[in-house]
Amino acid sequence: MSASTHSPVLKHHFGDLGQQHASERLGMWMFLATEVLFFAGLFGAYACYRLWYASEFEFASAFMNLKIASINTVLLVTSSLTMTLAIRAAKLGNKSGLYTHLLLTFALGTGFMVLKGFEYAHDFHESYLPGEGTFVHSNMQTEAVARGLDTGKVRLFLCFYYIMTGIHGIHIVIGLGCILWLVQQAYANKIPPENYSTVEVVSLYWHLVDAIWLFLMPLLYLAGAHLKVGPH
């Protein structure tokens, strides 16, 4: 009998650790497939209205905060790197490396959400909100009318902006919770090298959330980057 069939991390219903790791990975990937289809619905709805109301969507996008979104992109991609380095540390039995990279990932993810909070606060302050009652007070409304654009379609972009970034943000918060749990598990010495897949399954979720942002960024923040309107 090998070490892979006698490990304390081997769950009783698996024959060996190889089978256990493969099952955990496959289970997470099947969940991620449902997540891809969930976000595909949102992206599809966005694509449809973007093609129908291109002028209004590009105009509204020009008012989004490209600077914060760019910093957030760097934070999120960097967090993917540190998360992958955490798996590496787990595989090599490097506990301090695992601990450090998990905490770095958590800090970068938290930084993303804090900046997102500042961004939302700025949007609220400027009345960049889909509700007609508040939107009429925004400079976006004034400029849209001056350009002869349909303000209802501009507000539709804002609906997509809040729903897509909001759902993405919820996924980030869930990922941060999972990373905190990994930190606790690492602290309790429950992630030996043969149990690295615990880190890997959380990392798969985190990378998917990162990959989704790589599409949200151009669709929401870069659509109107070439226009000379808004706060640019």
Binding site: S2, G15, L32, W52, S80, R88, G93, P193, A223, H226
Partner: protein, 122 residues
């Protein structure tokens, strides 16, 4: 009783950039930090290119497609290297590809409806 379809392996940590006992090994492939850093730089570089291209507006009506193409390349790098698809089991790769395939069906079917509603035939 060990599963006959998996390869028993030791839990000894391997050297960086090497596999232990194939895809079902206990530890599997260990990434080289240099390679991961290069992938990170590529993804960040593509992001910078996307911002520059979008801000200049040089591609006109093709900007959206170029933006999504860059996003797709970035996501592919993330999938292959950070999510370890290049060392993944066949069934895992199949699951990932199936999700993209079903997303394609979703897009083709409803876009073929929404994009042709205002078309005058005849």
């Amino acid at each position: 009783m060990a599963n006959p379809h998996t390869t028993p392996a030791t839990a000894t940590p391997p050297a960086a950039g090497h596999d232990t006992h194939g895809g079902h090994g206990v530890i599997g492939h260990v990434d080289s930090p240099g390679l991961l850093f290069v992938v990170f730089l590529v993804v960040i570089g593509l992001f910078a290119a996307n911002v520059a291209m979008s801000t200049s507006g040089a591609l006109g009506k093709y900007t959206l497609f170029a933006q999504l193409a860059i996003g797709a390349v970035q996501a592919t790098f993330v999938g292959l290297y950070f999510m370890h698809l290049r060392h993944g089991d066949k069934v895992v790769v199949l699951t990932a590809l199936a999700s993209v395939f079903w997303m394609g069906i979703l897009f083709v079917l409803f876009m073929s409806d929404y994009m042709t509603r205002n078309r005058v035939m005849g």
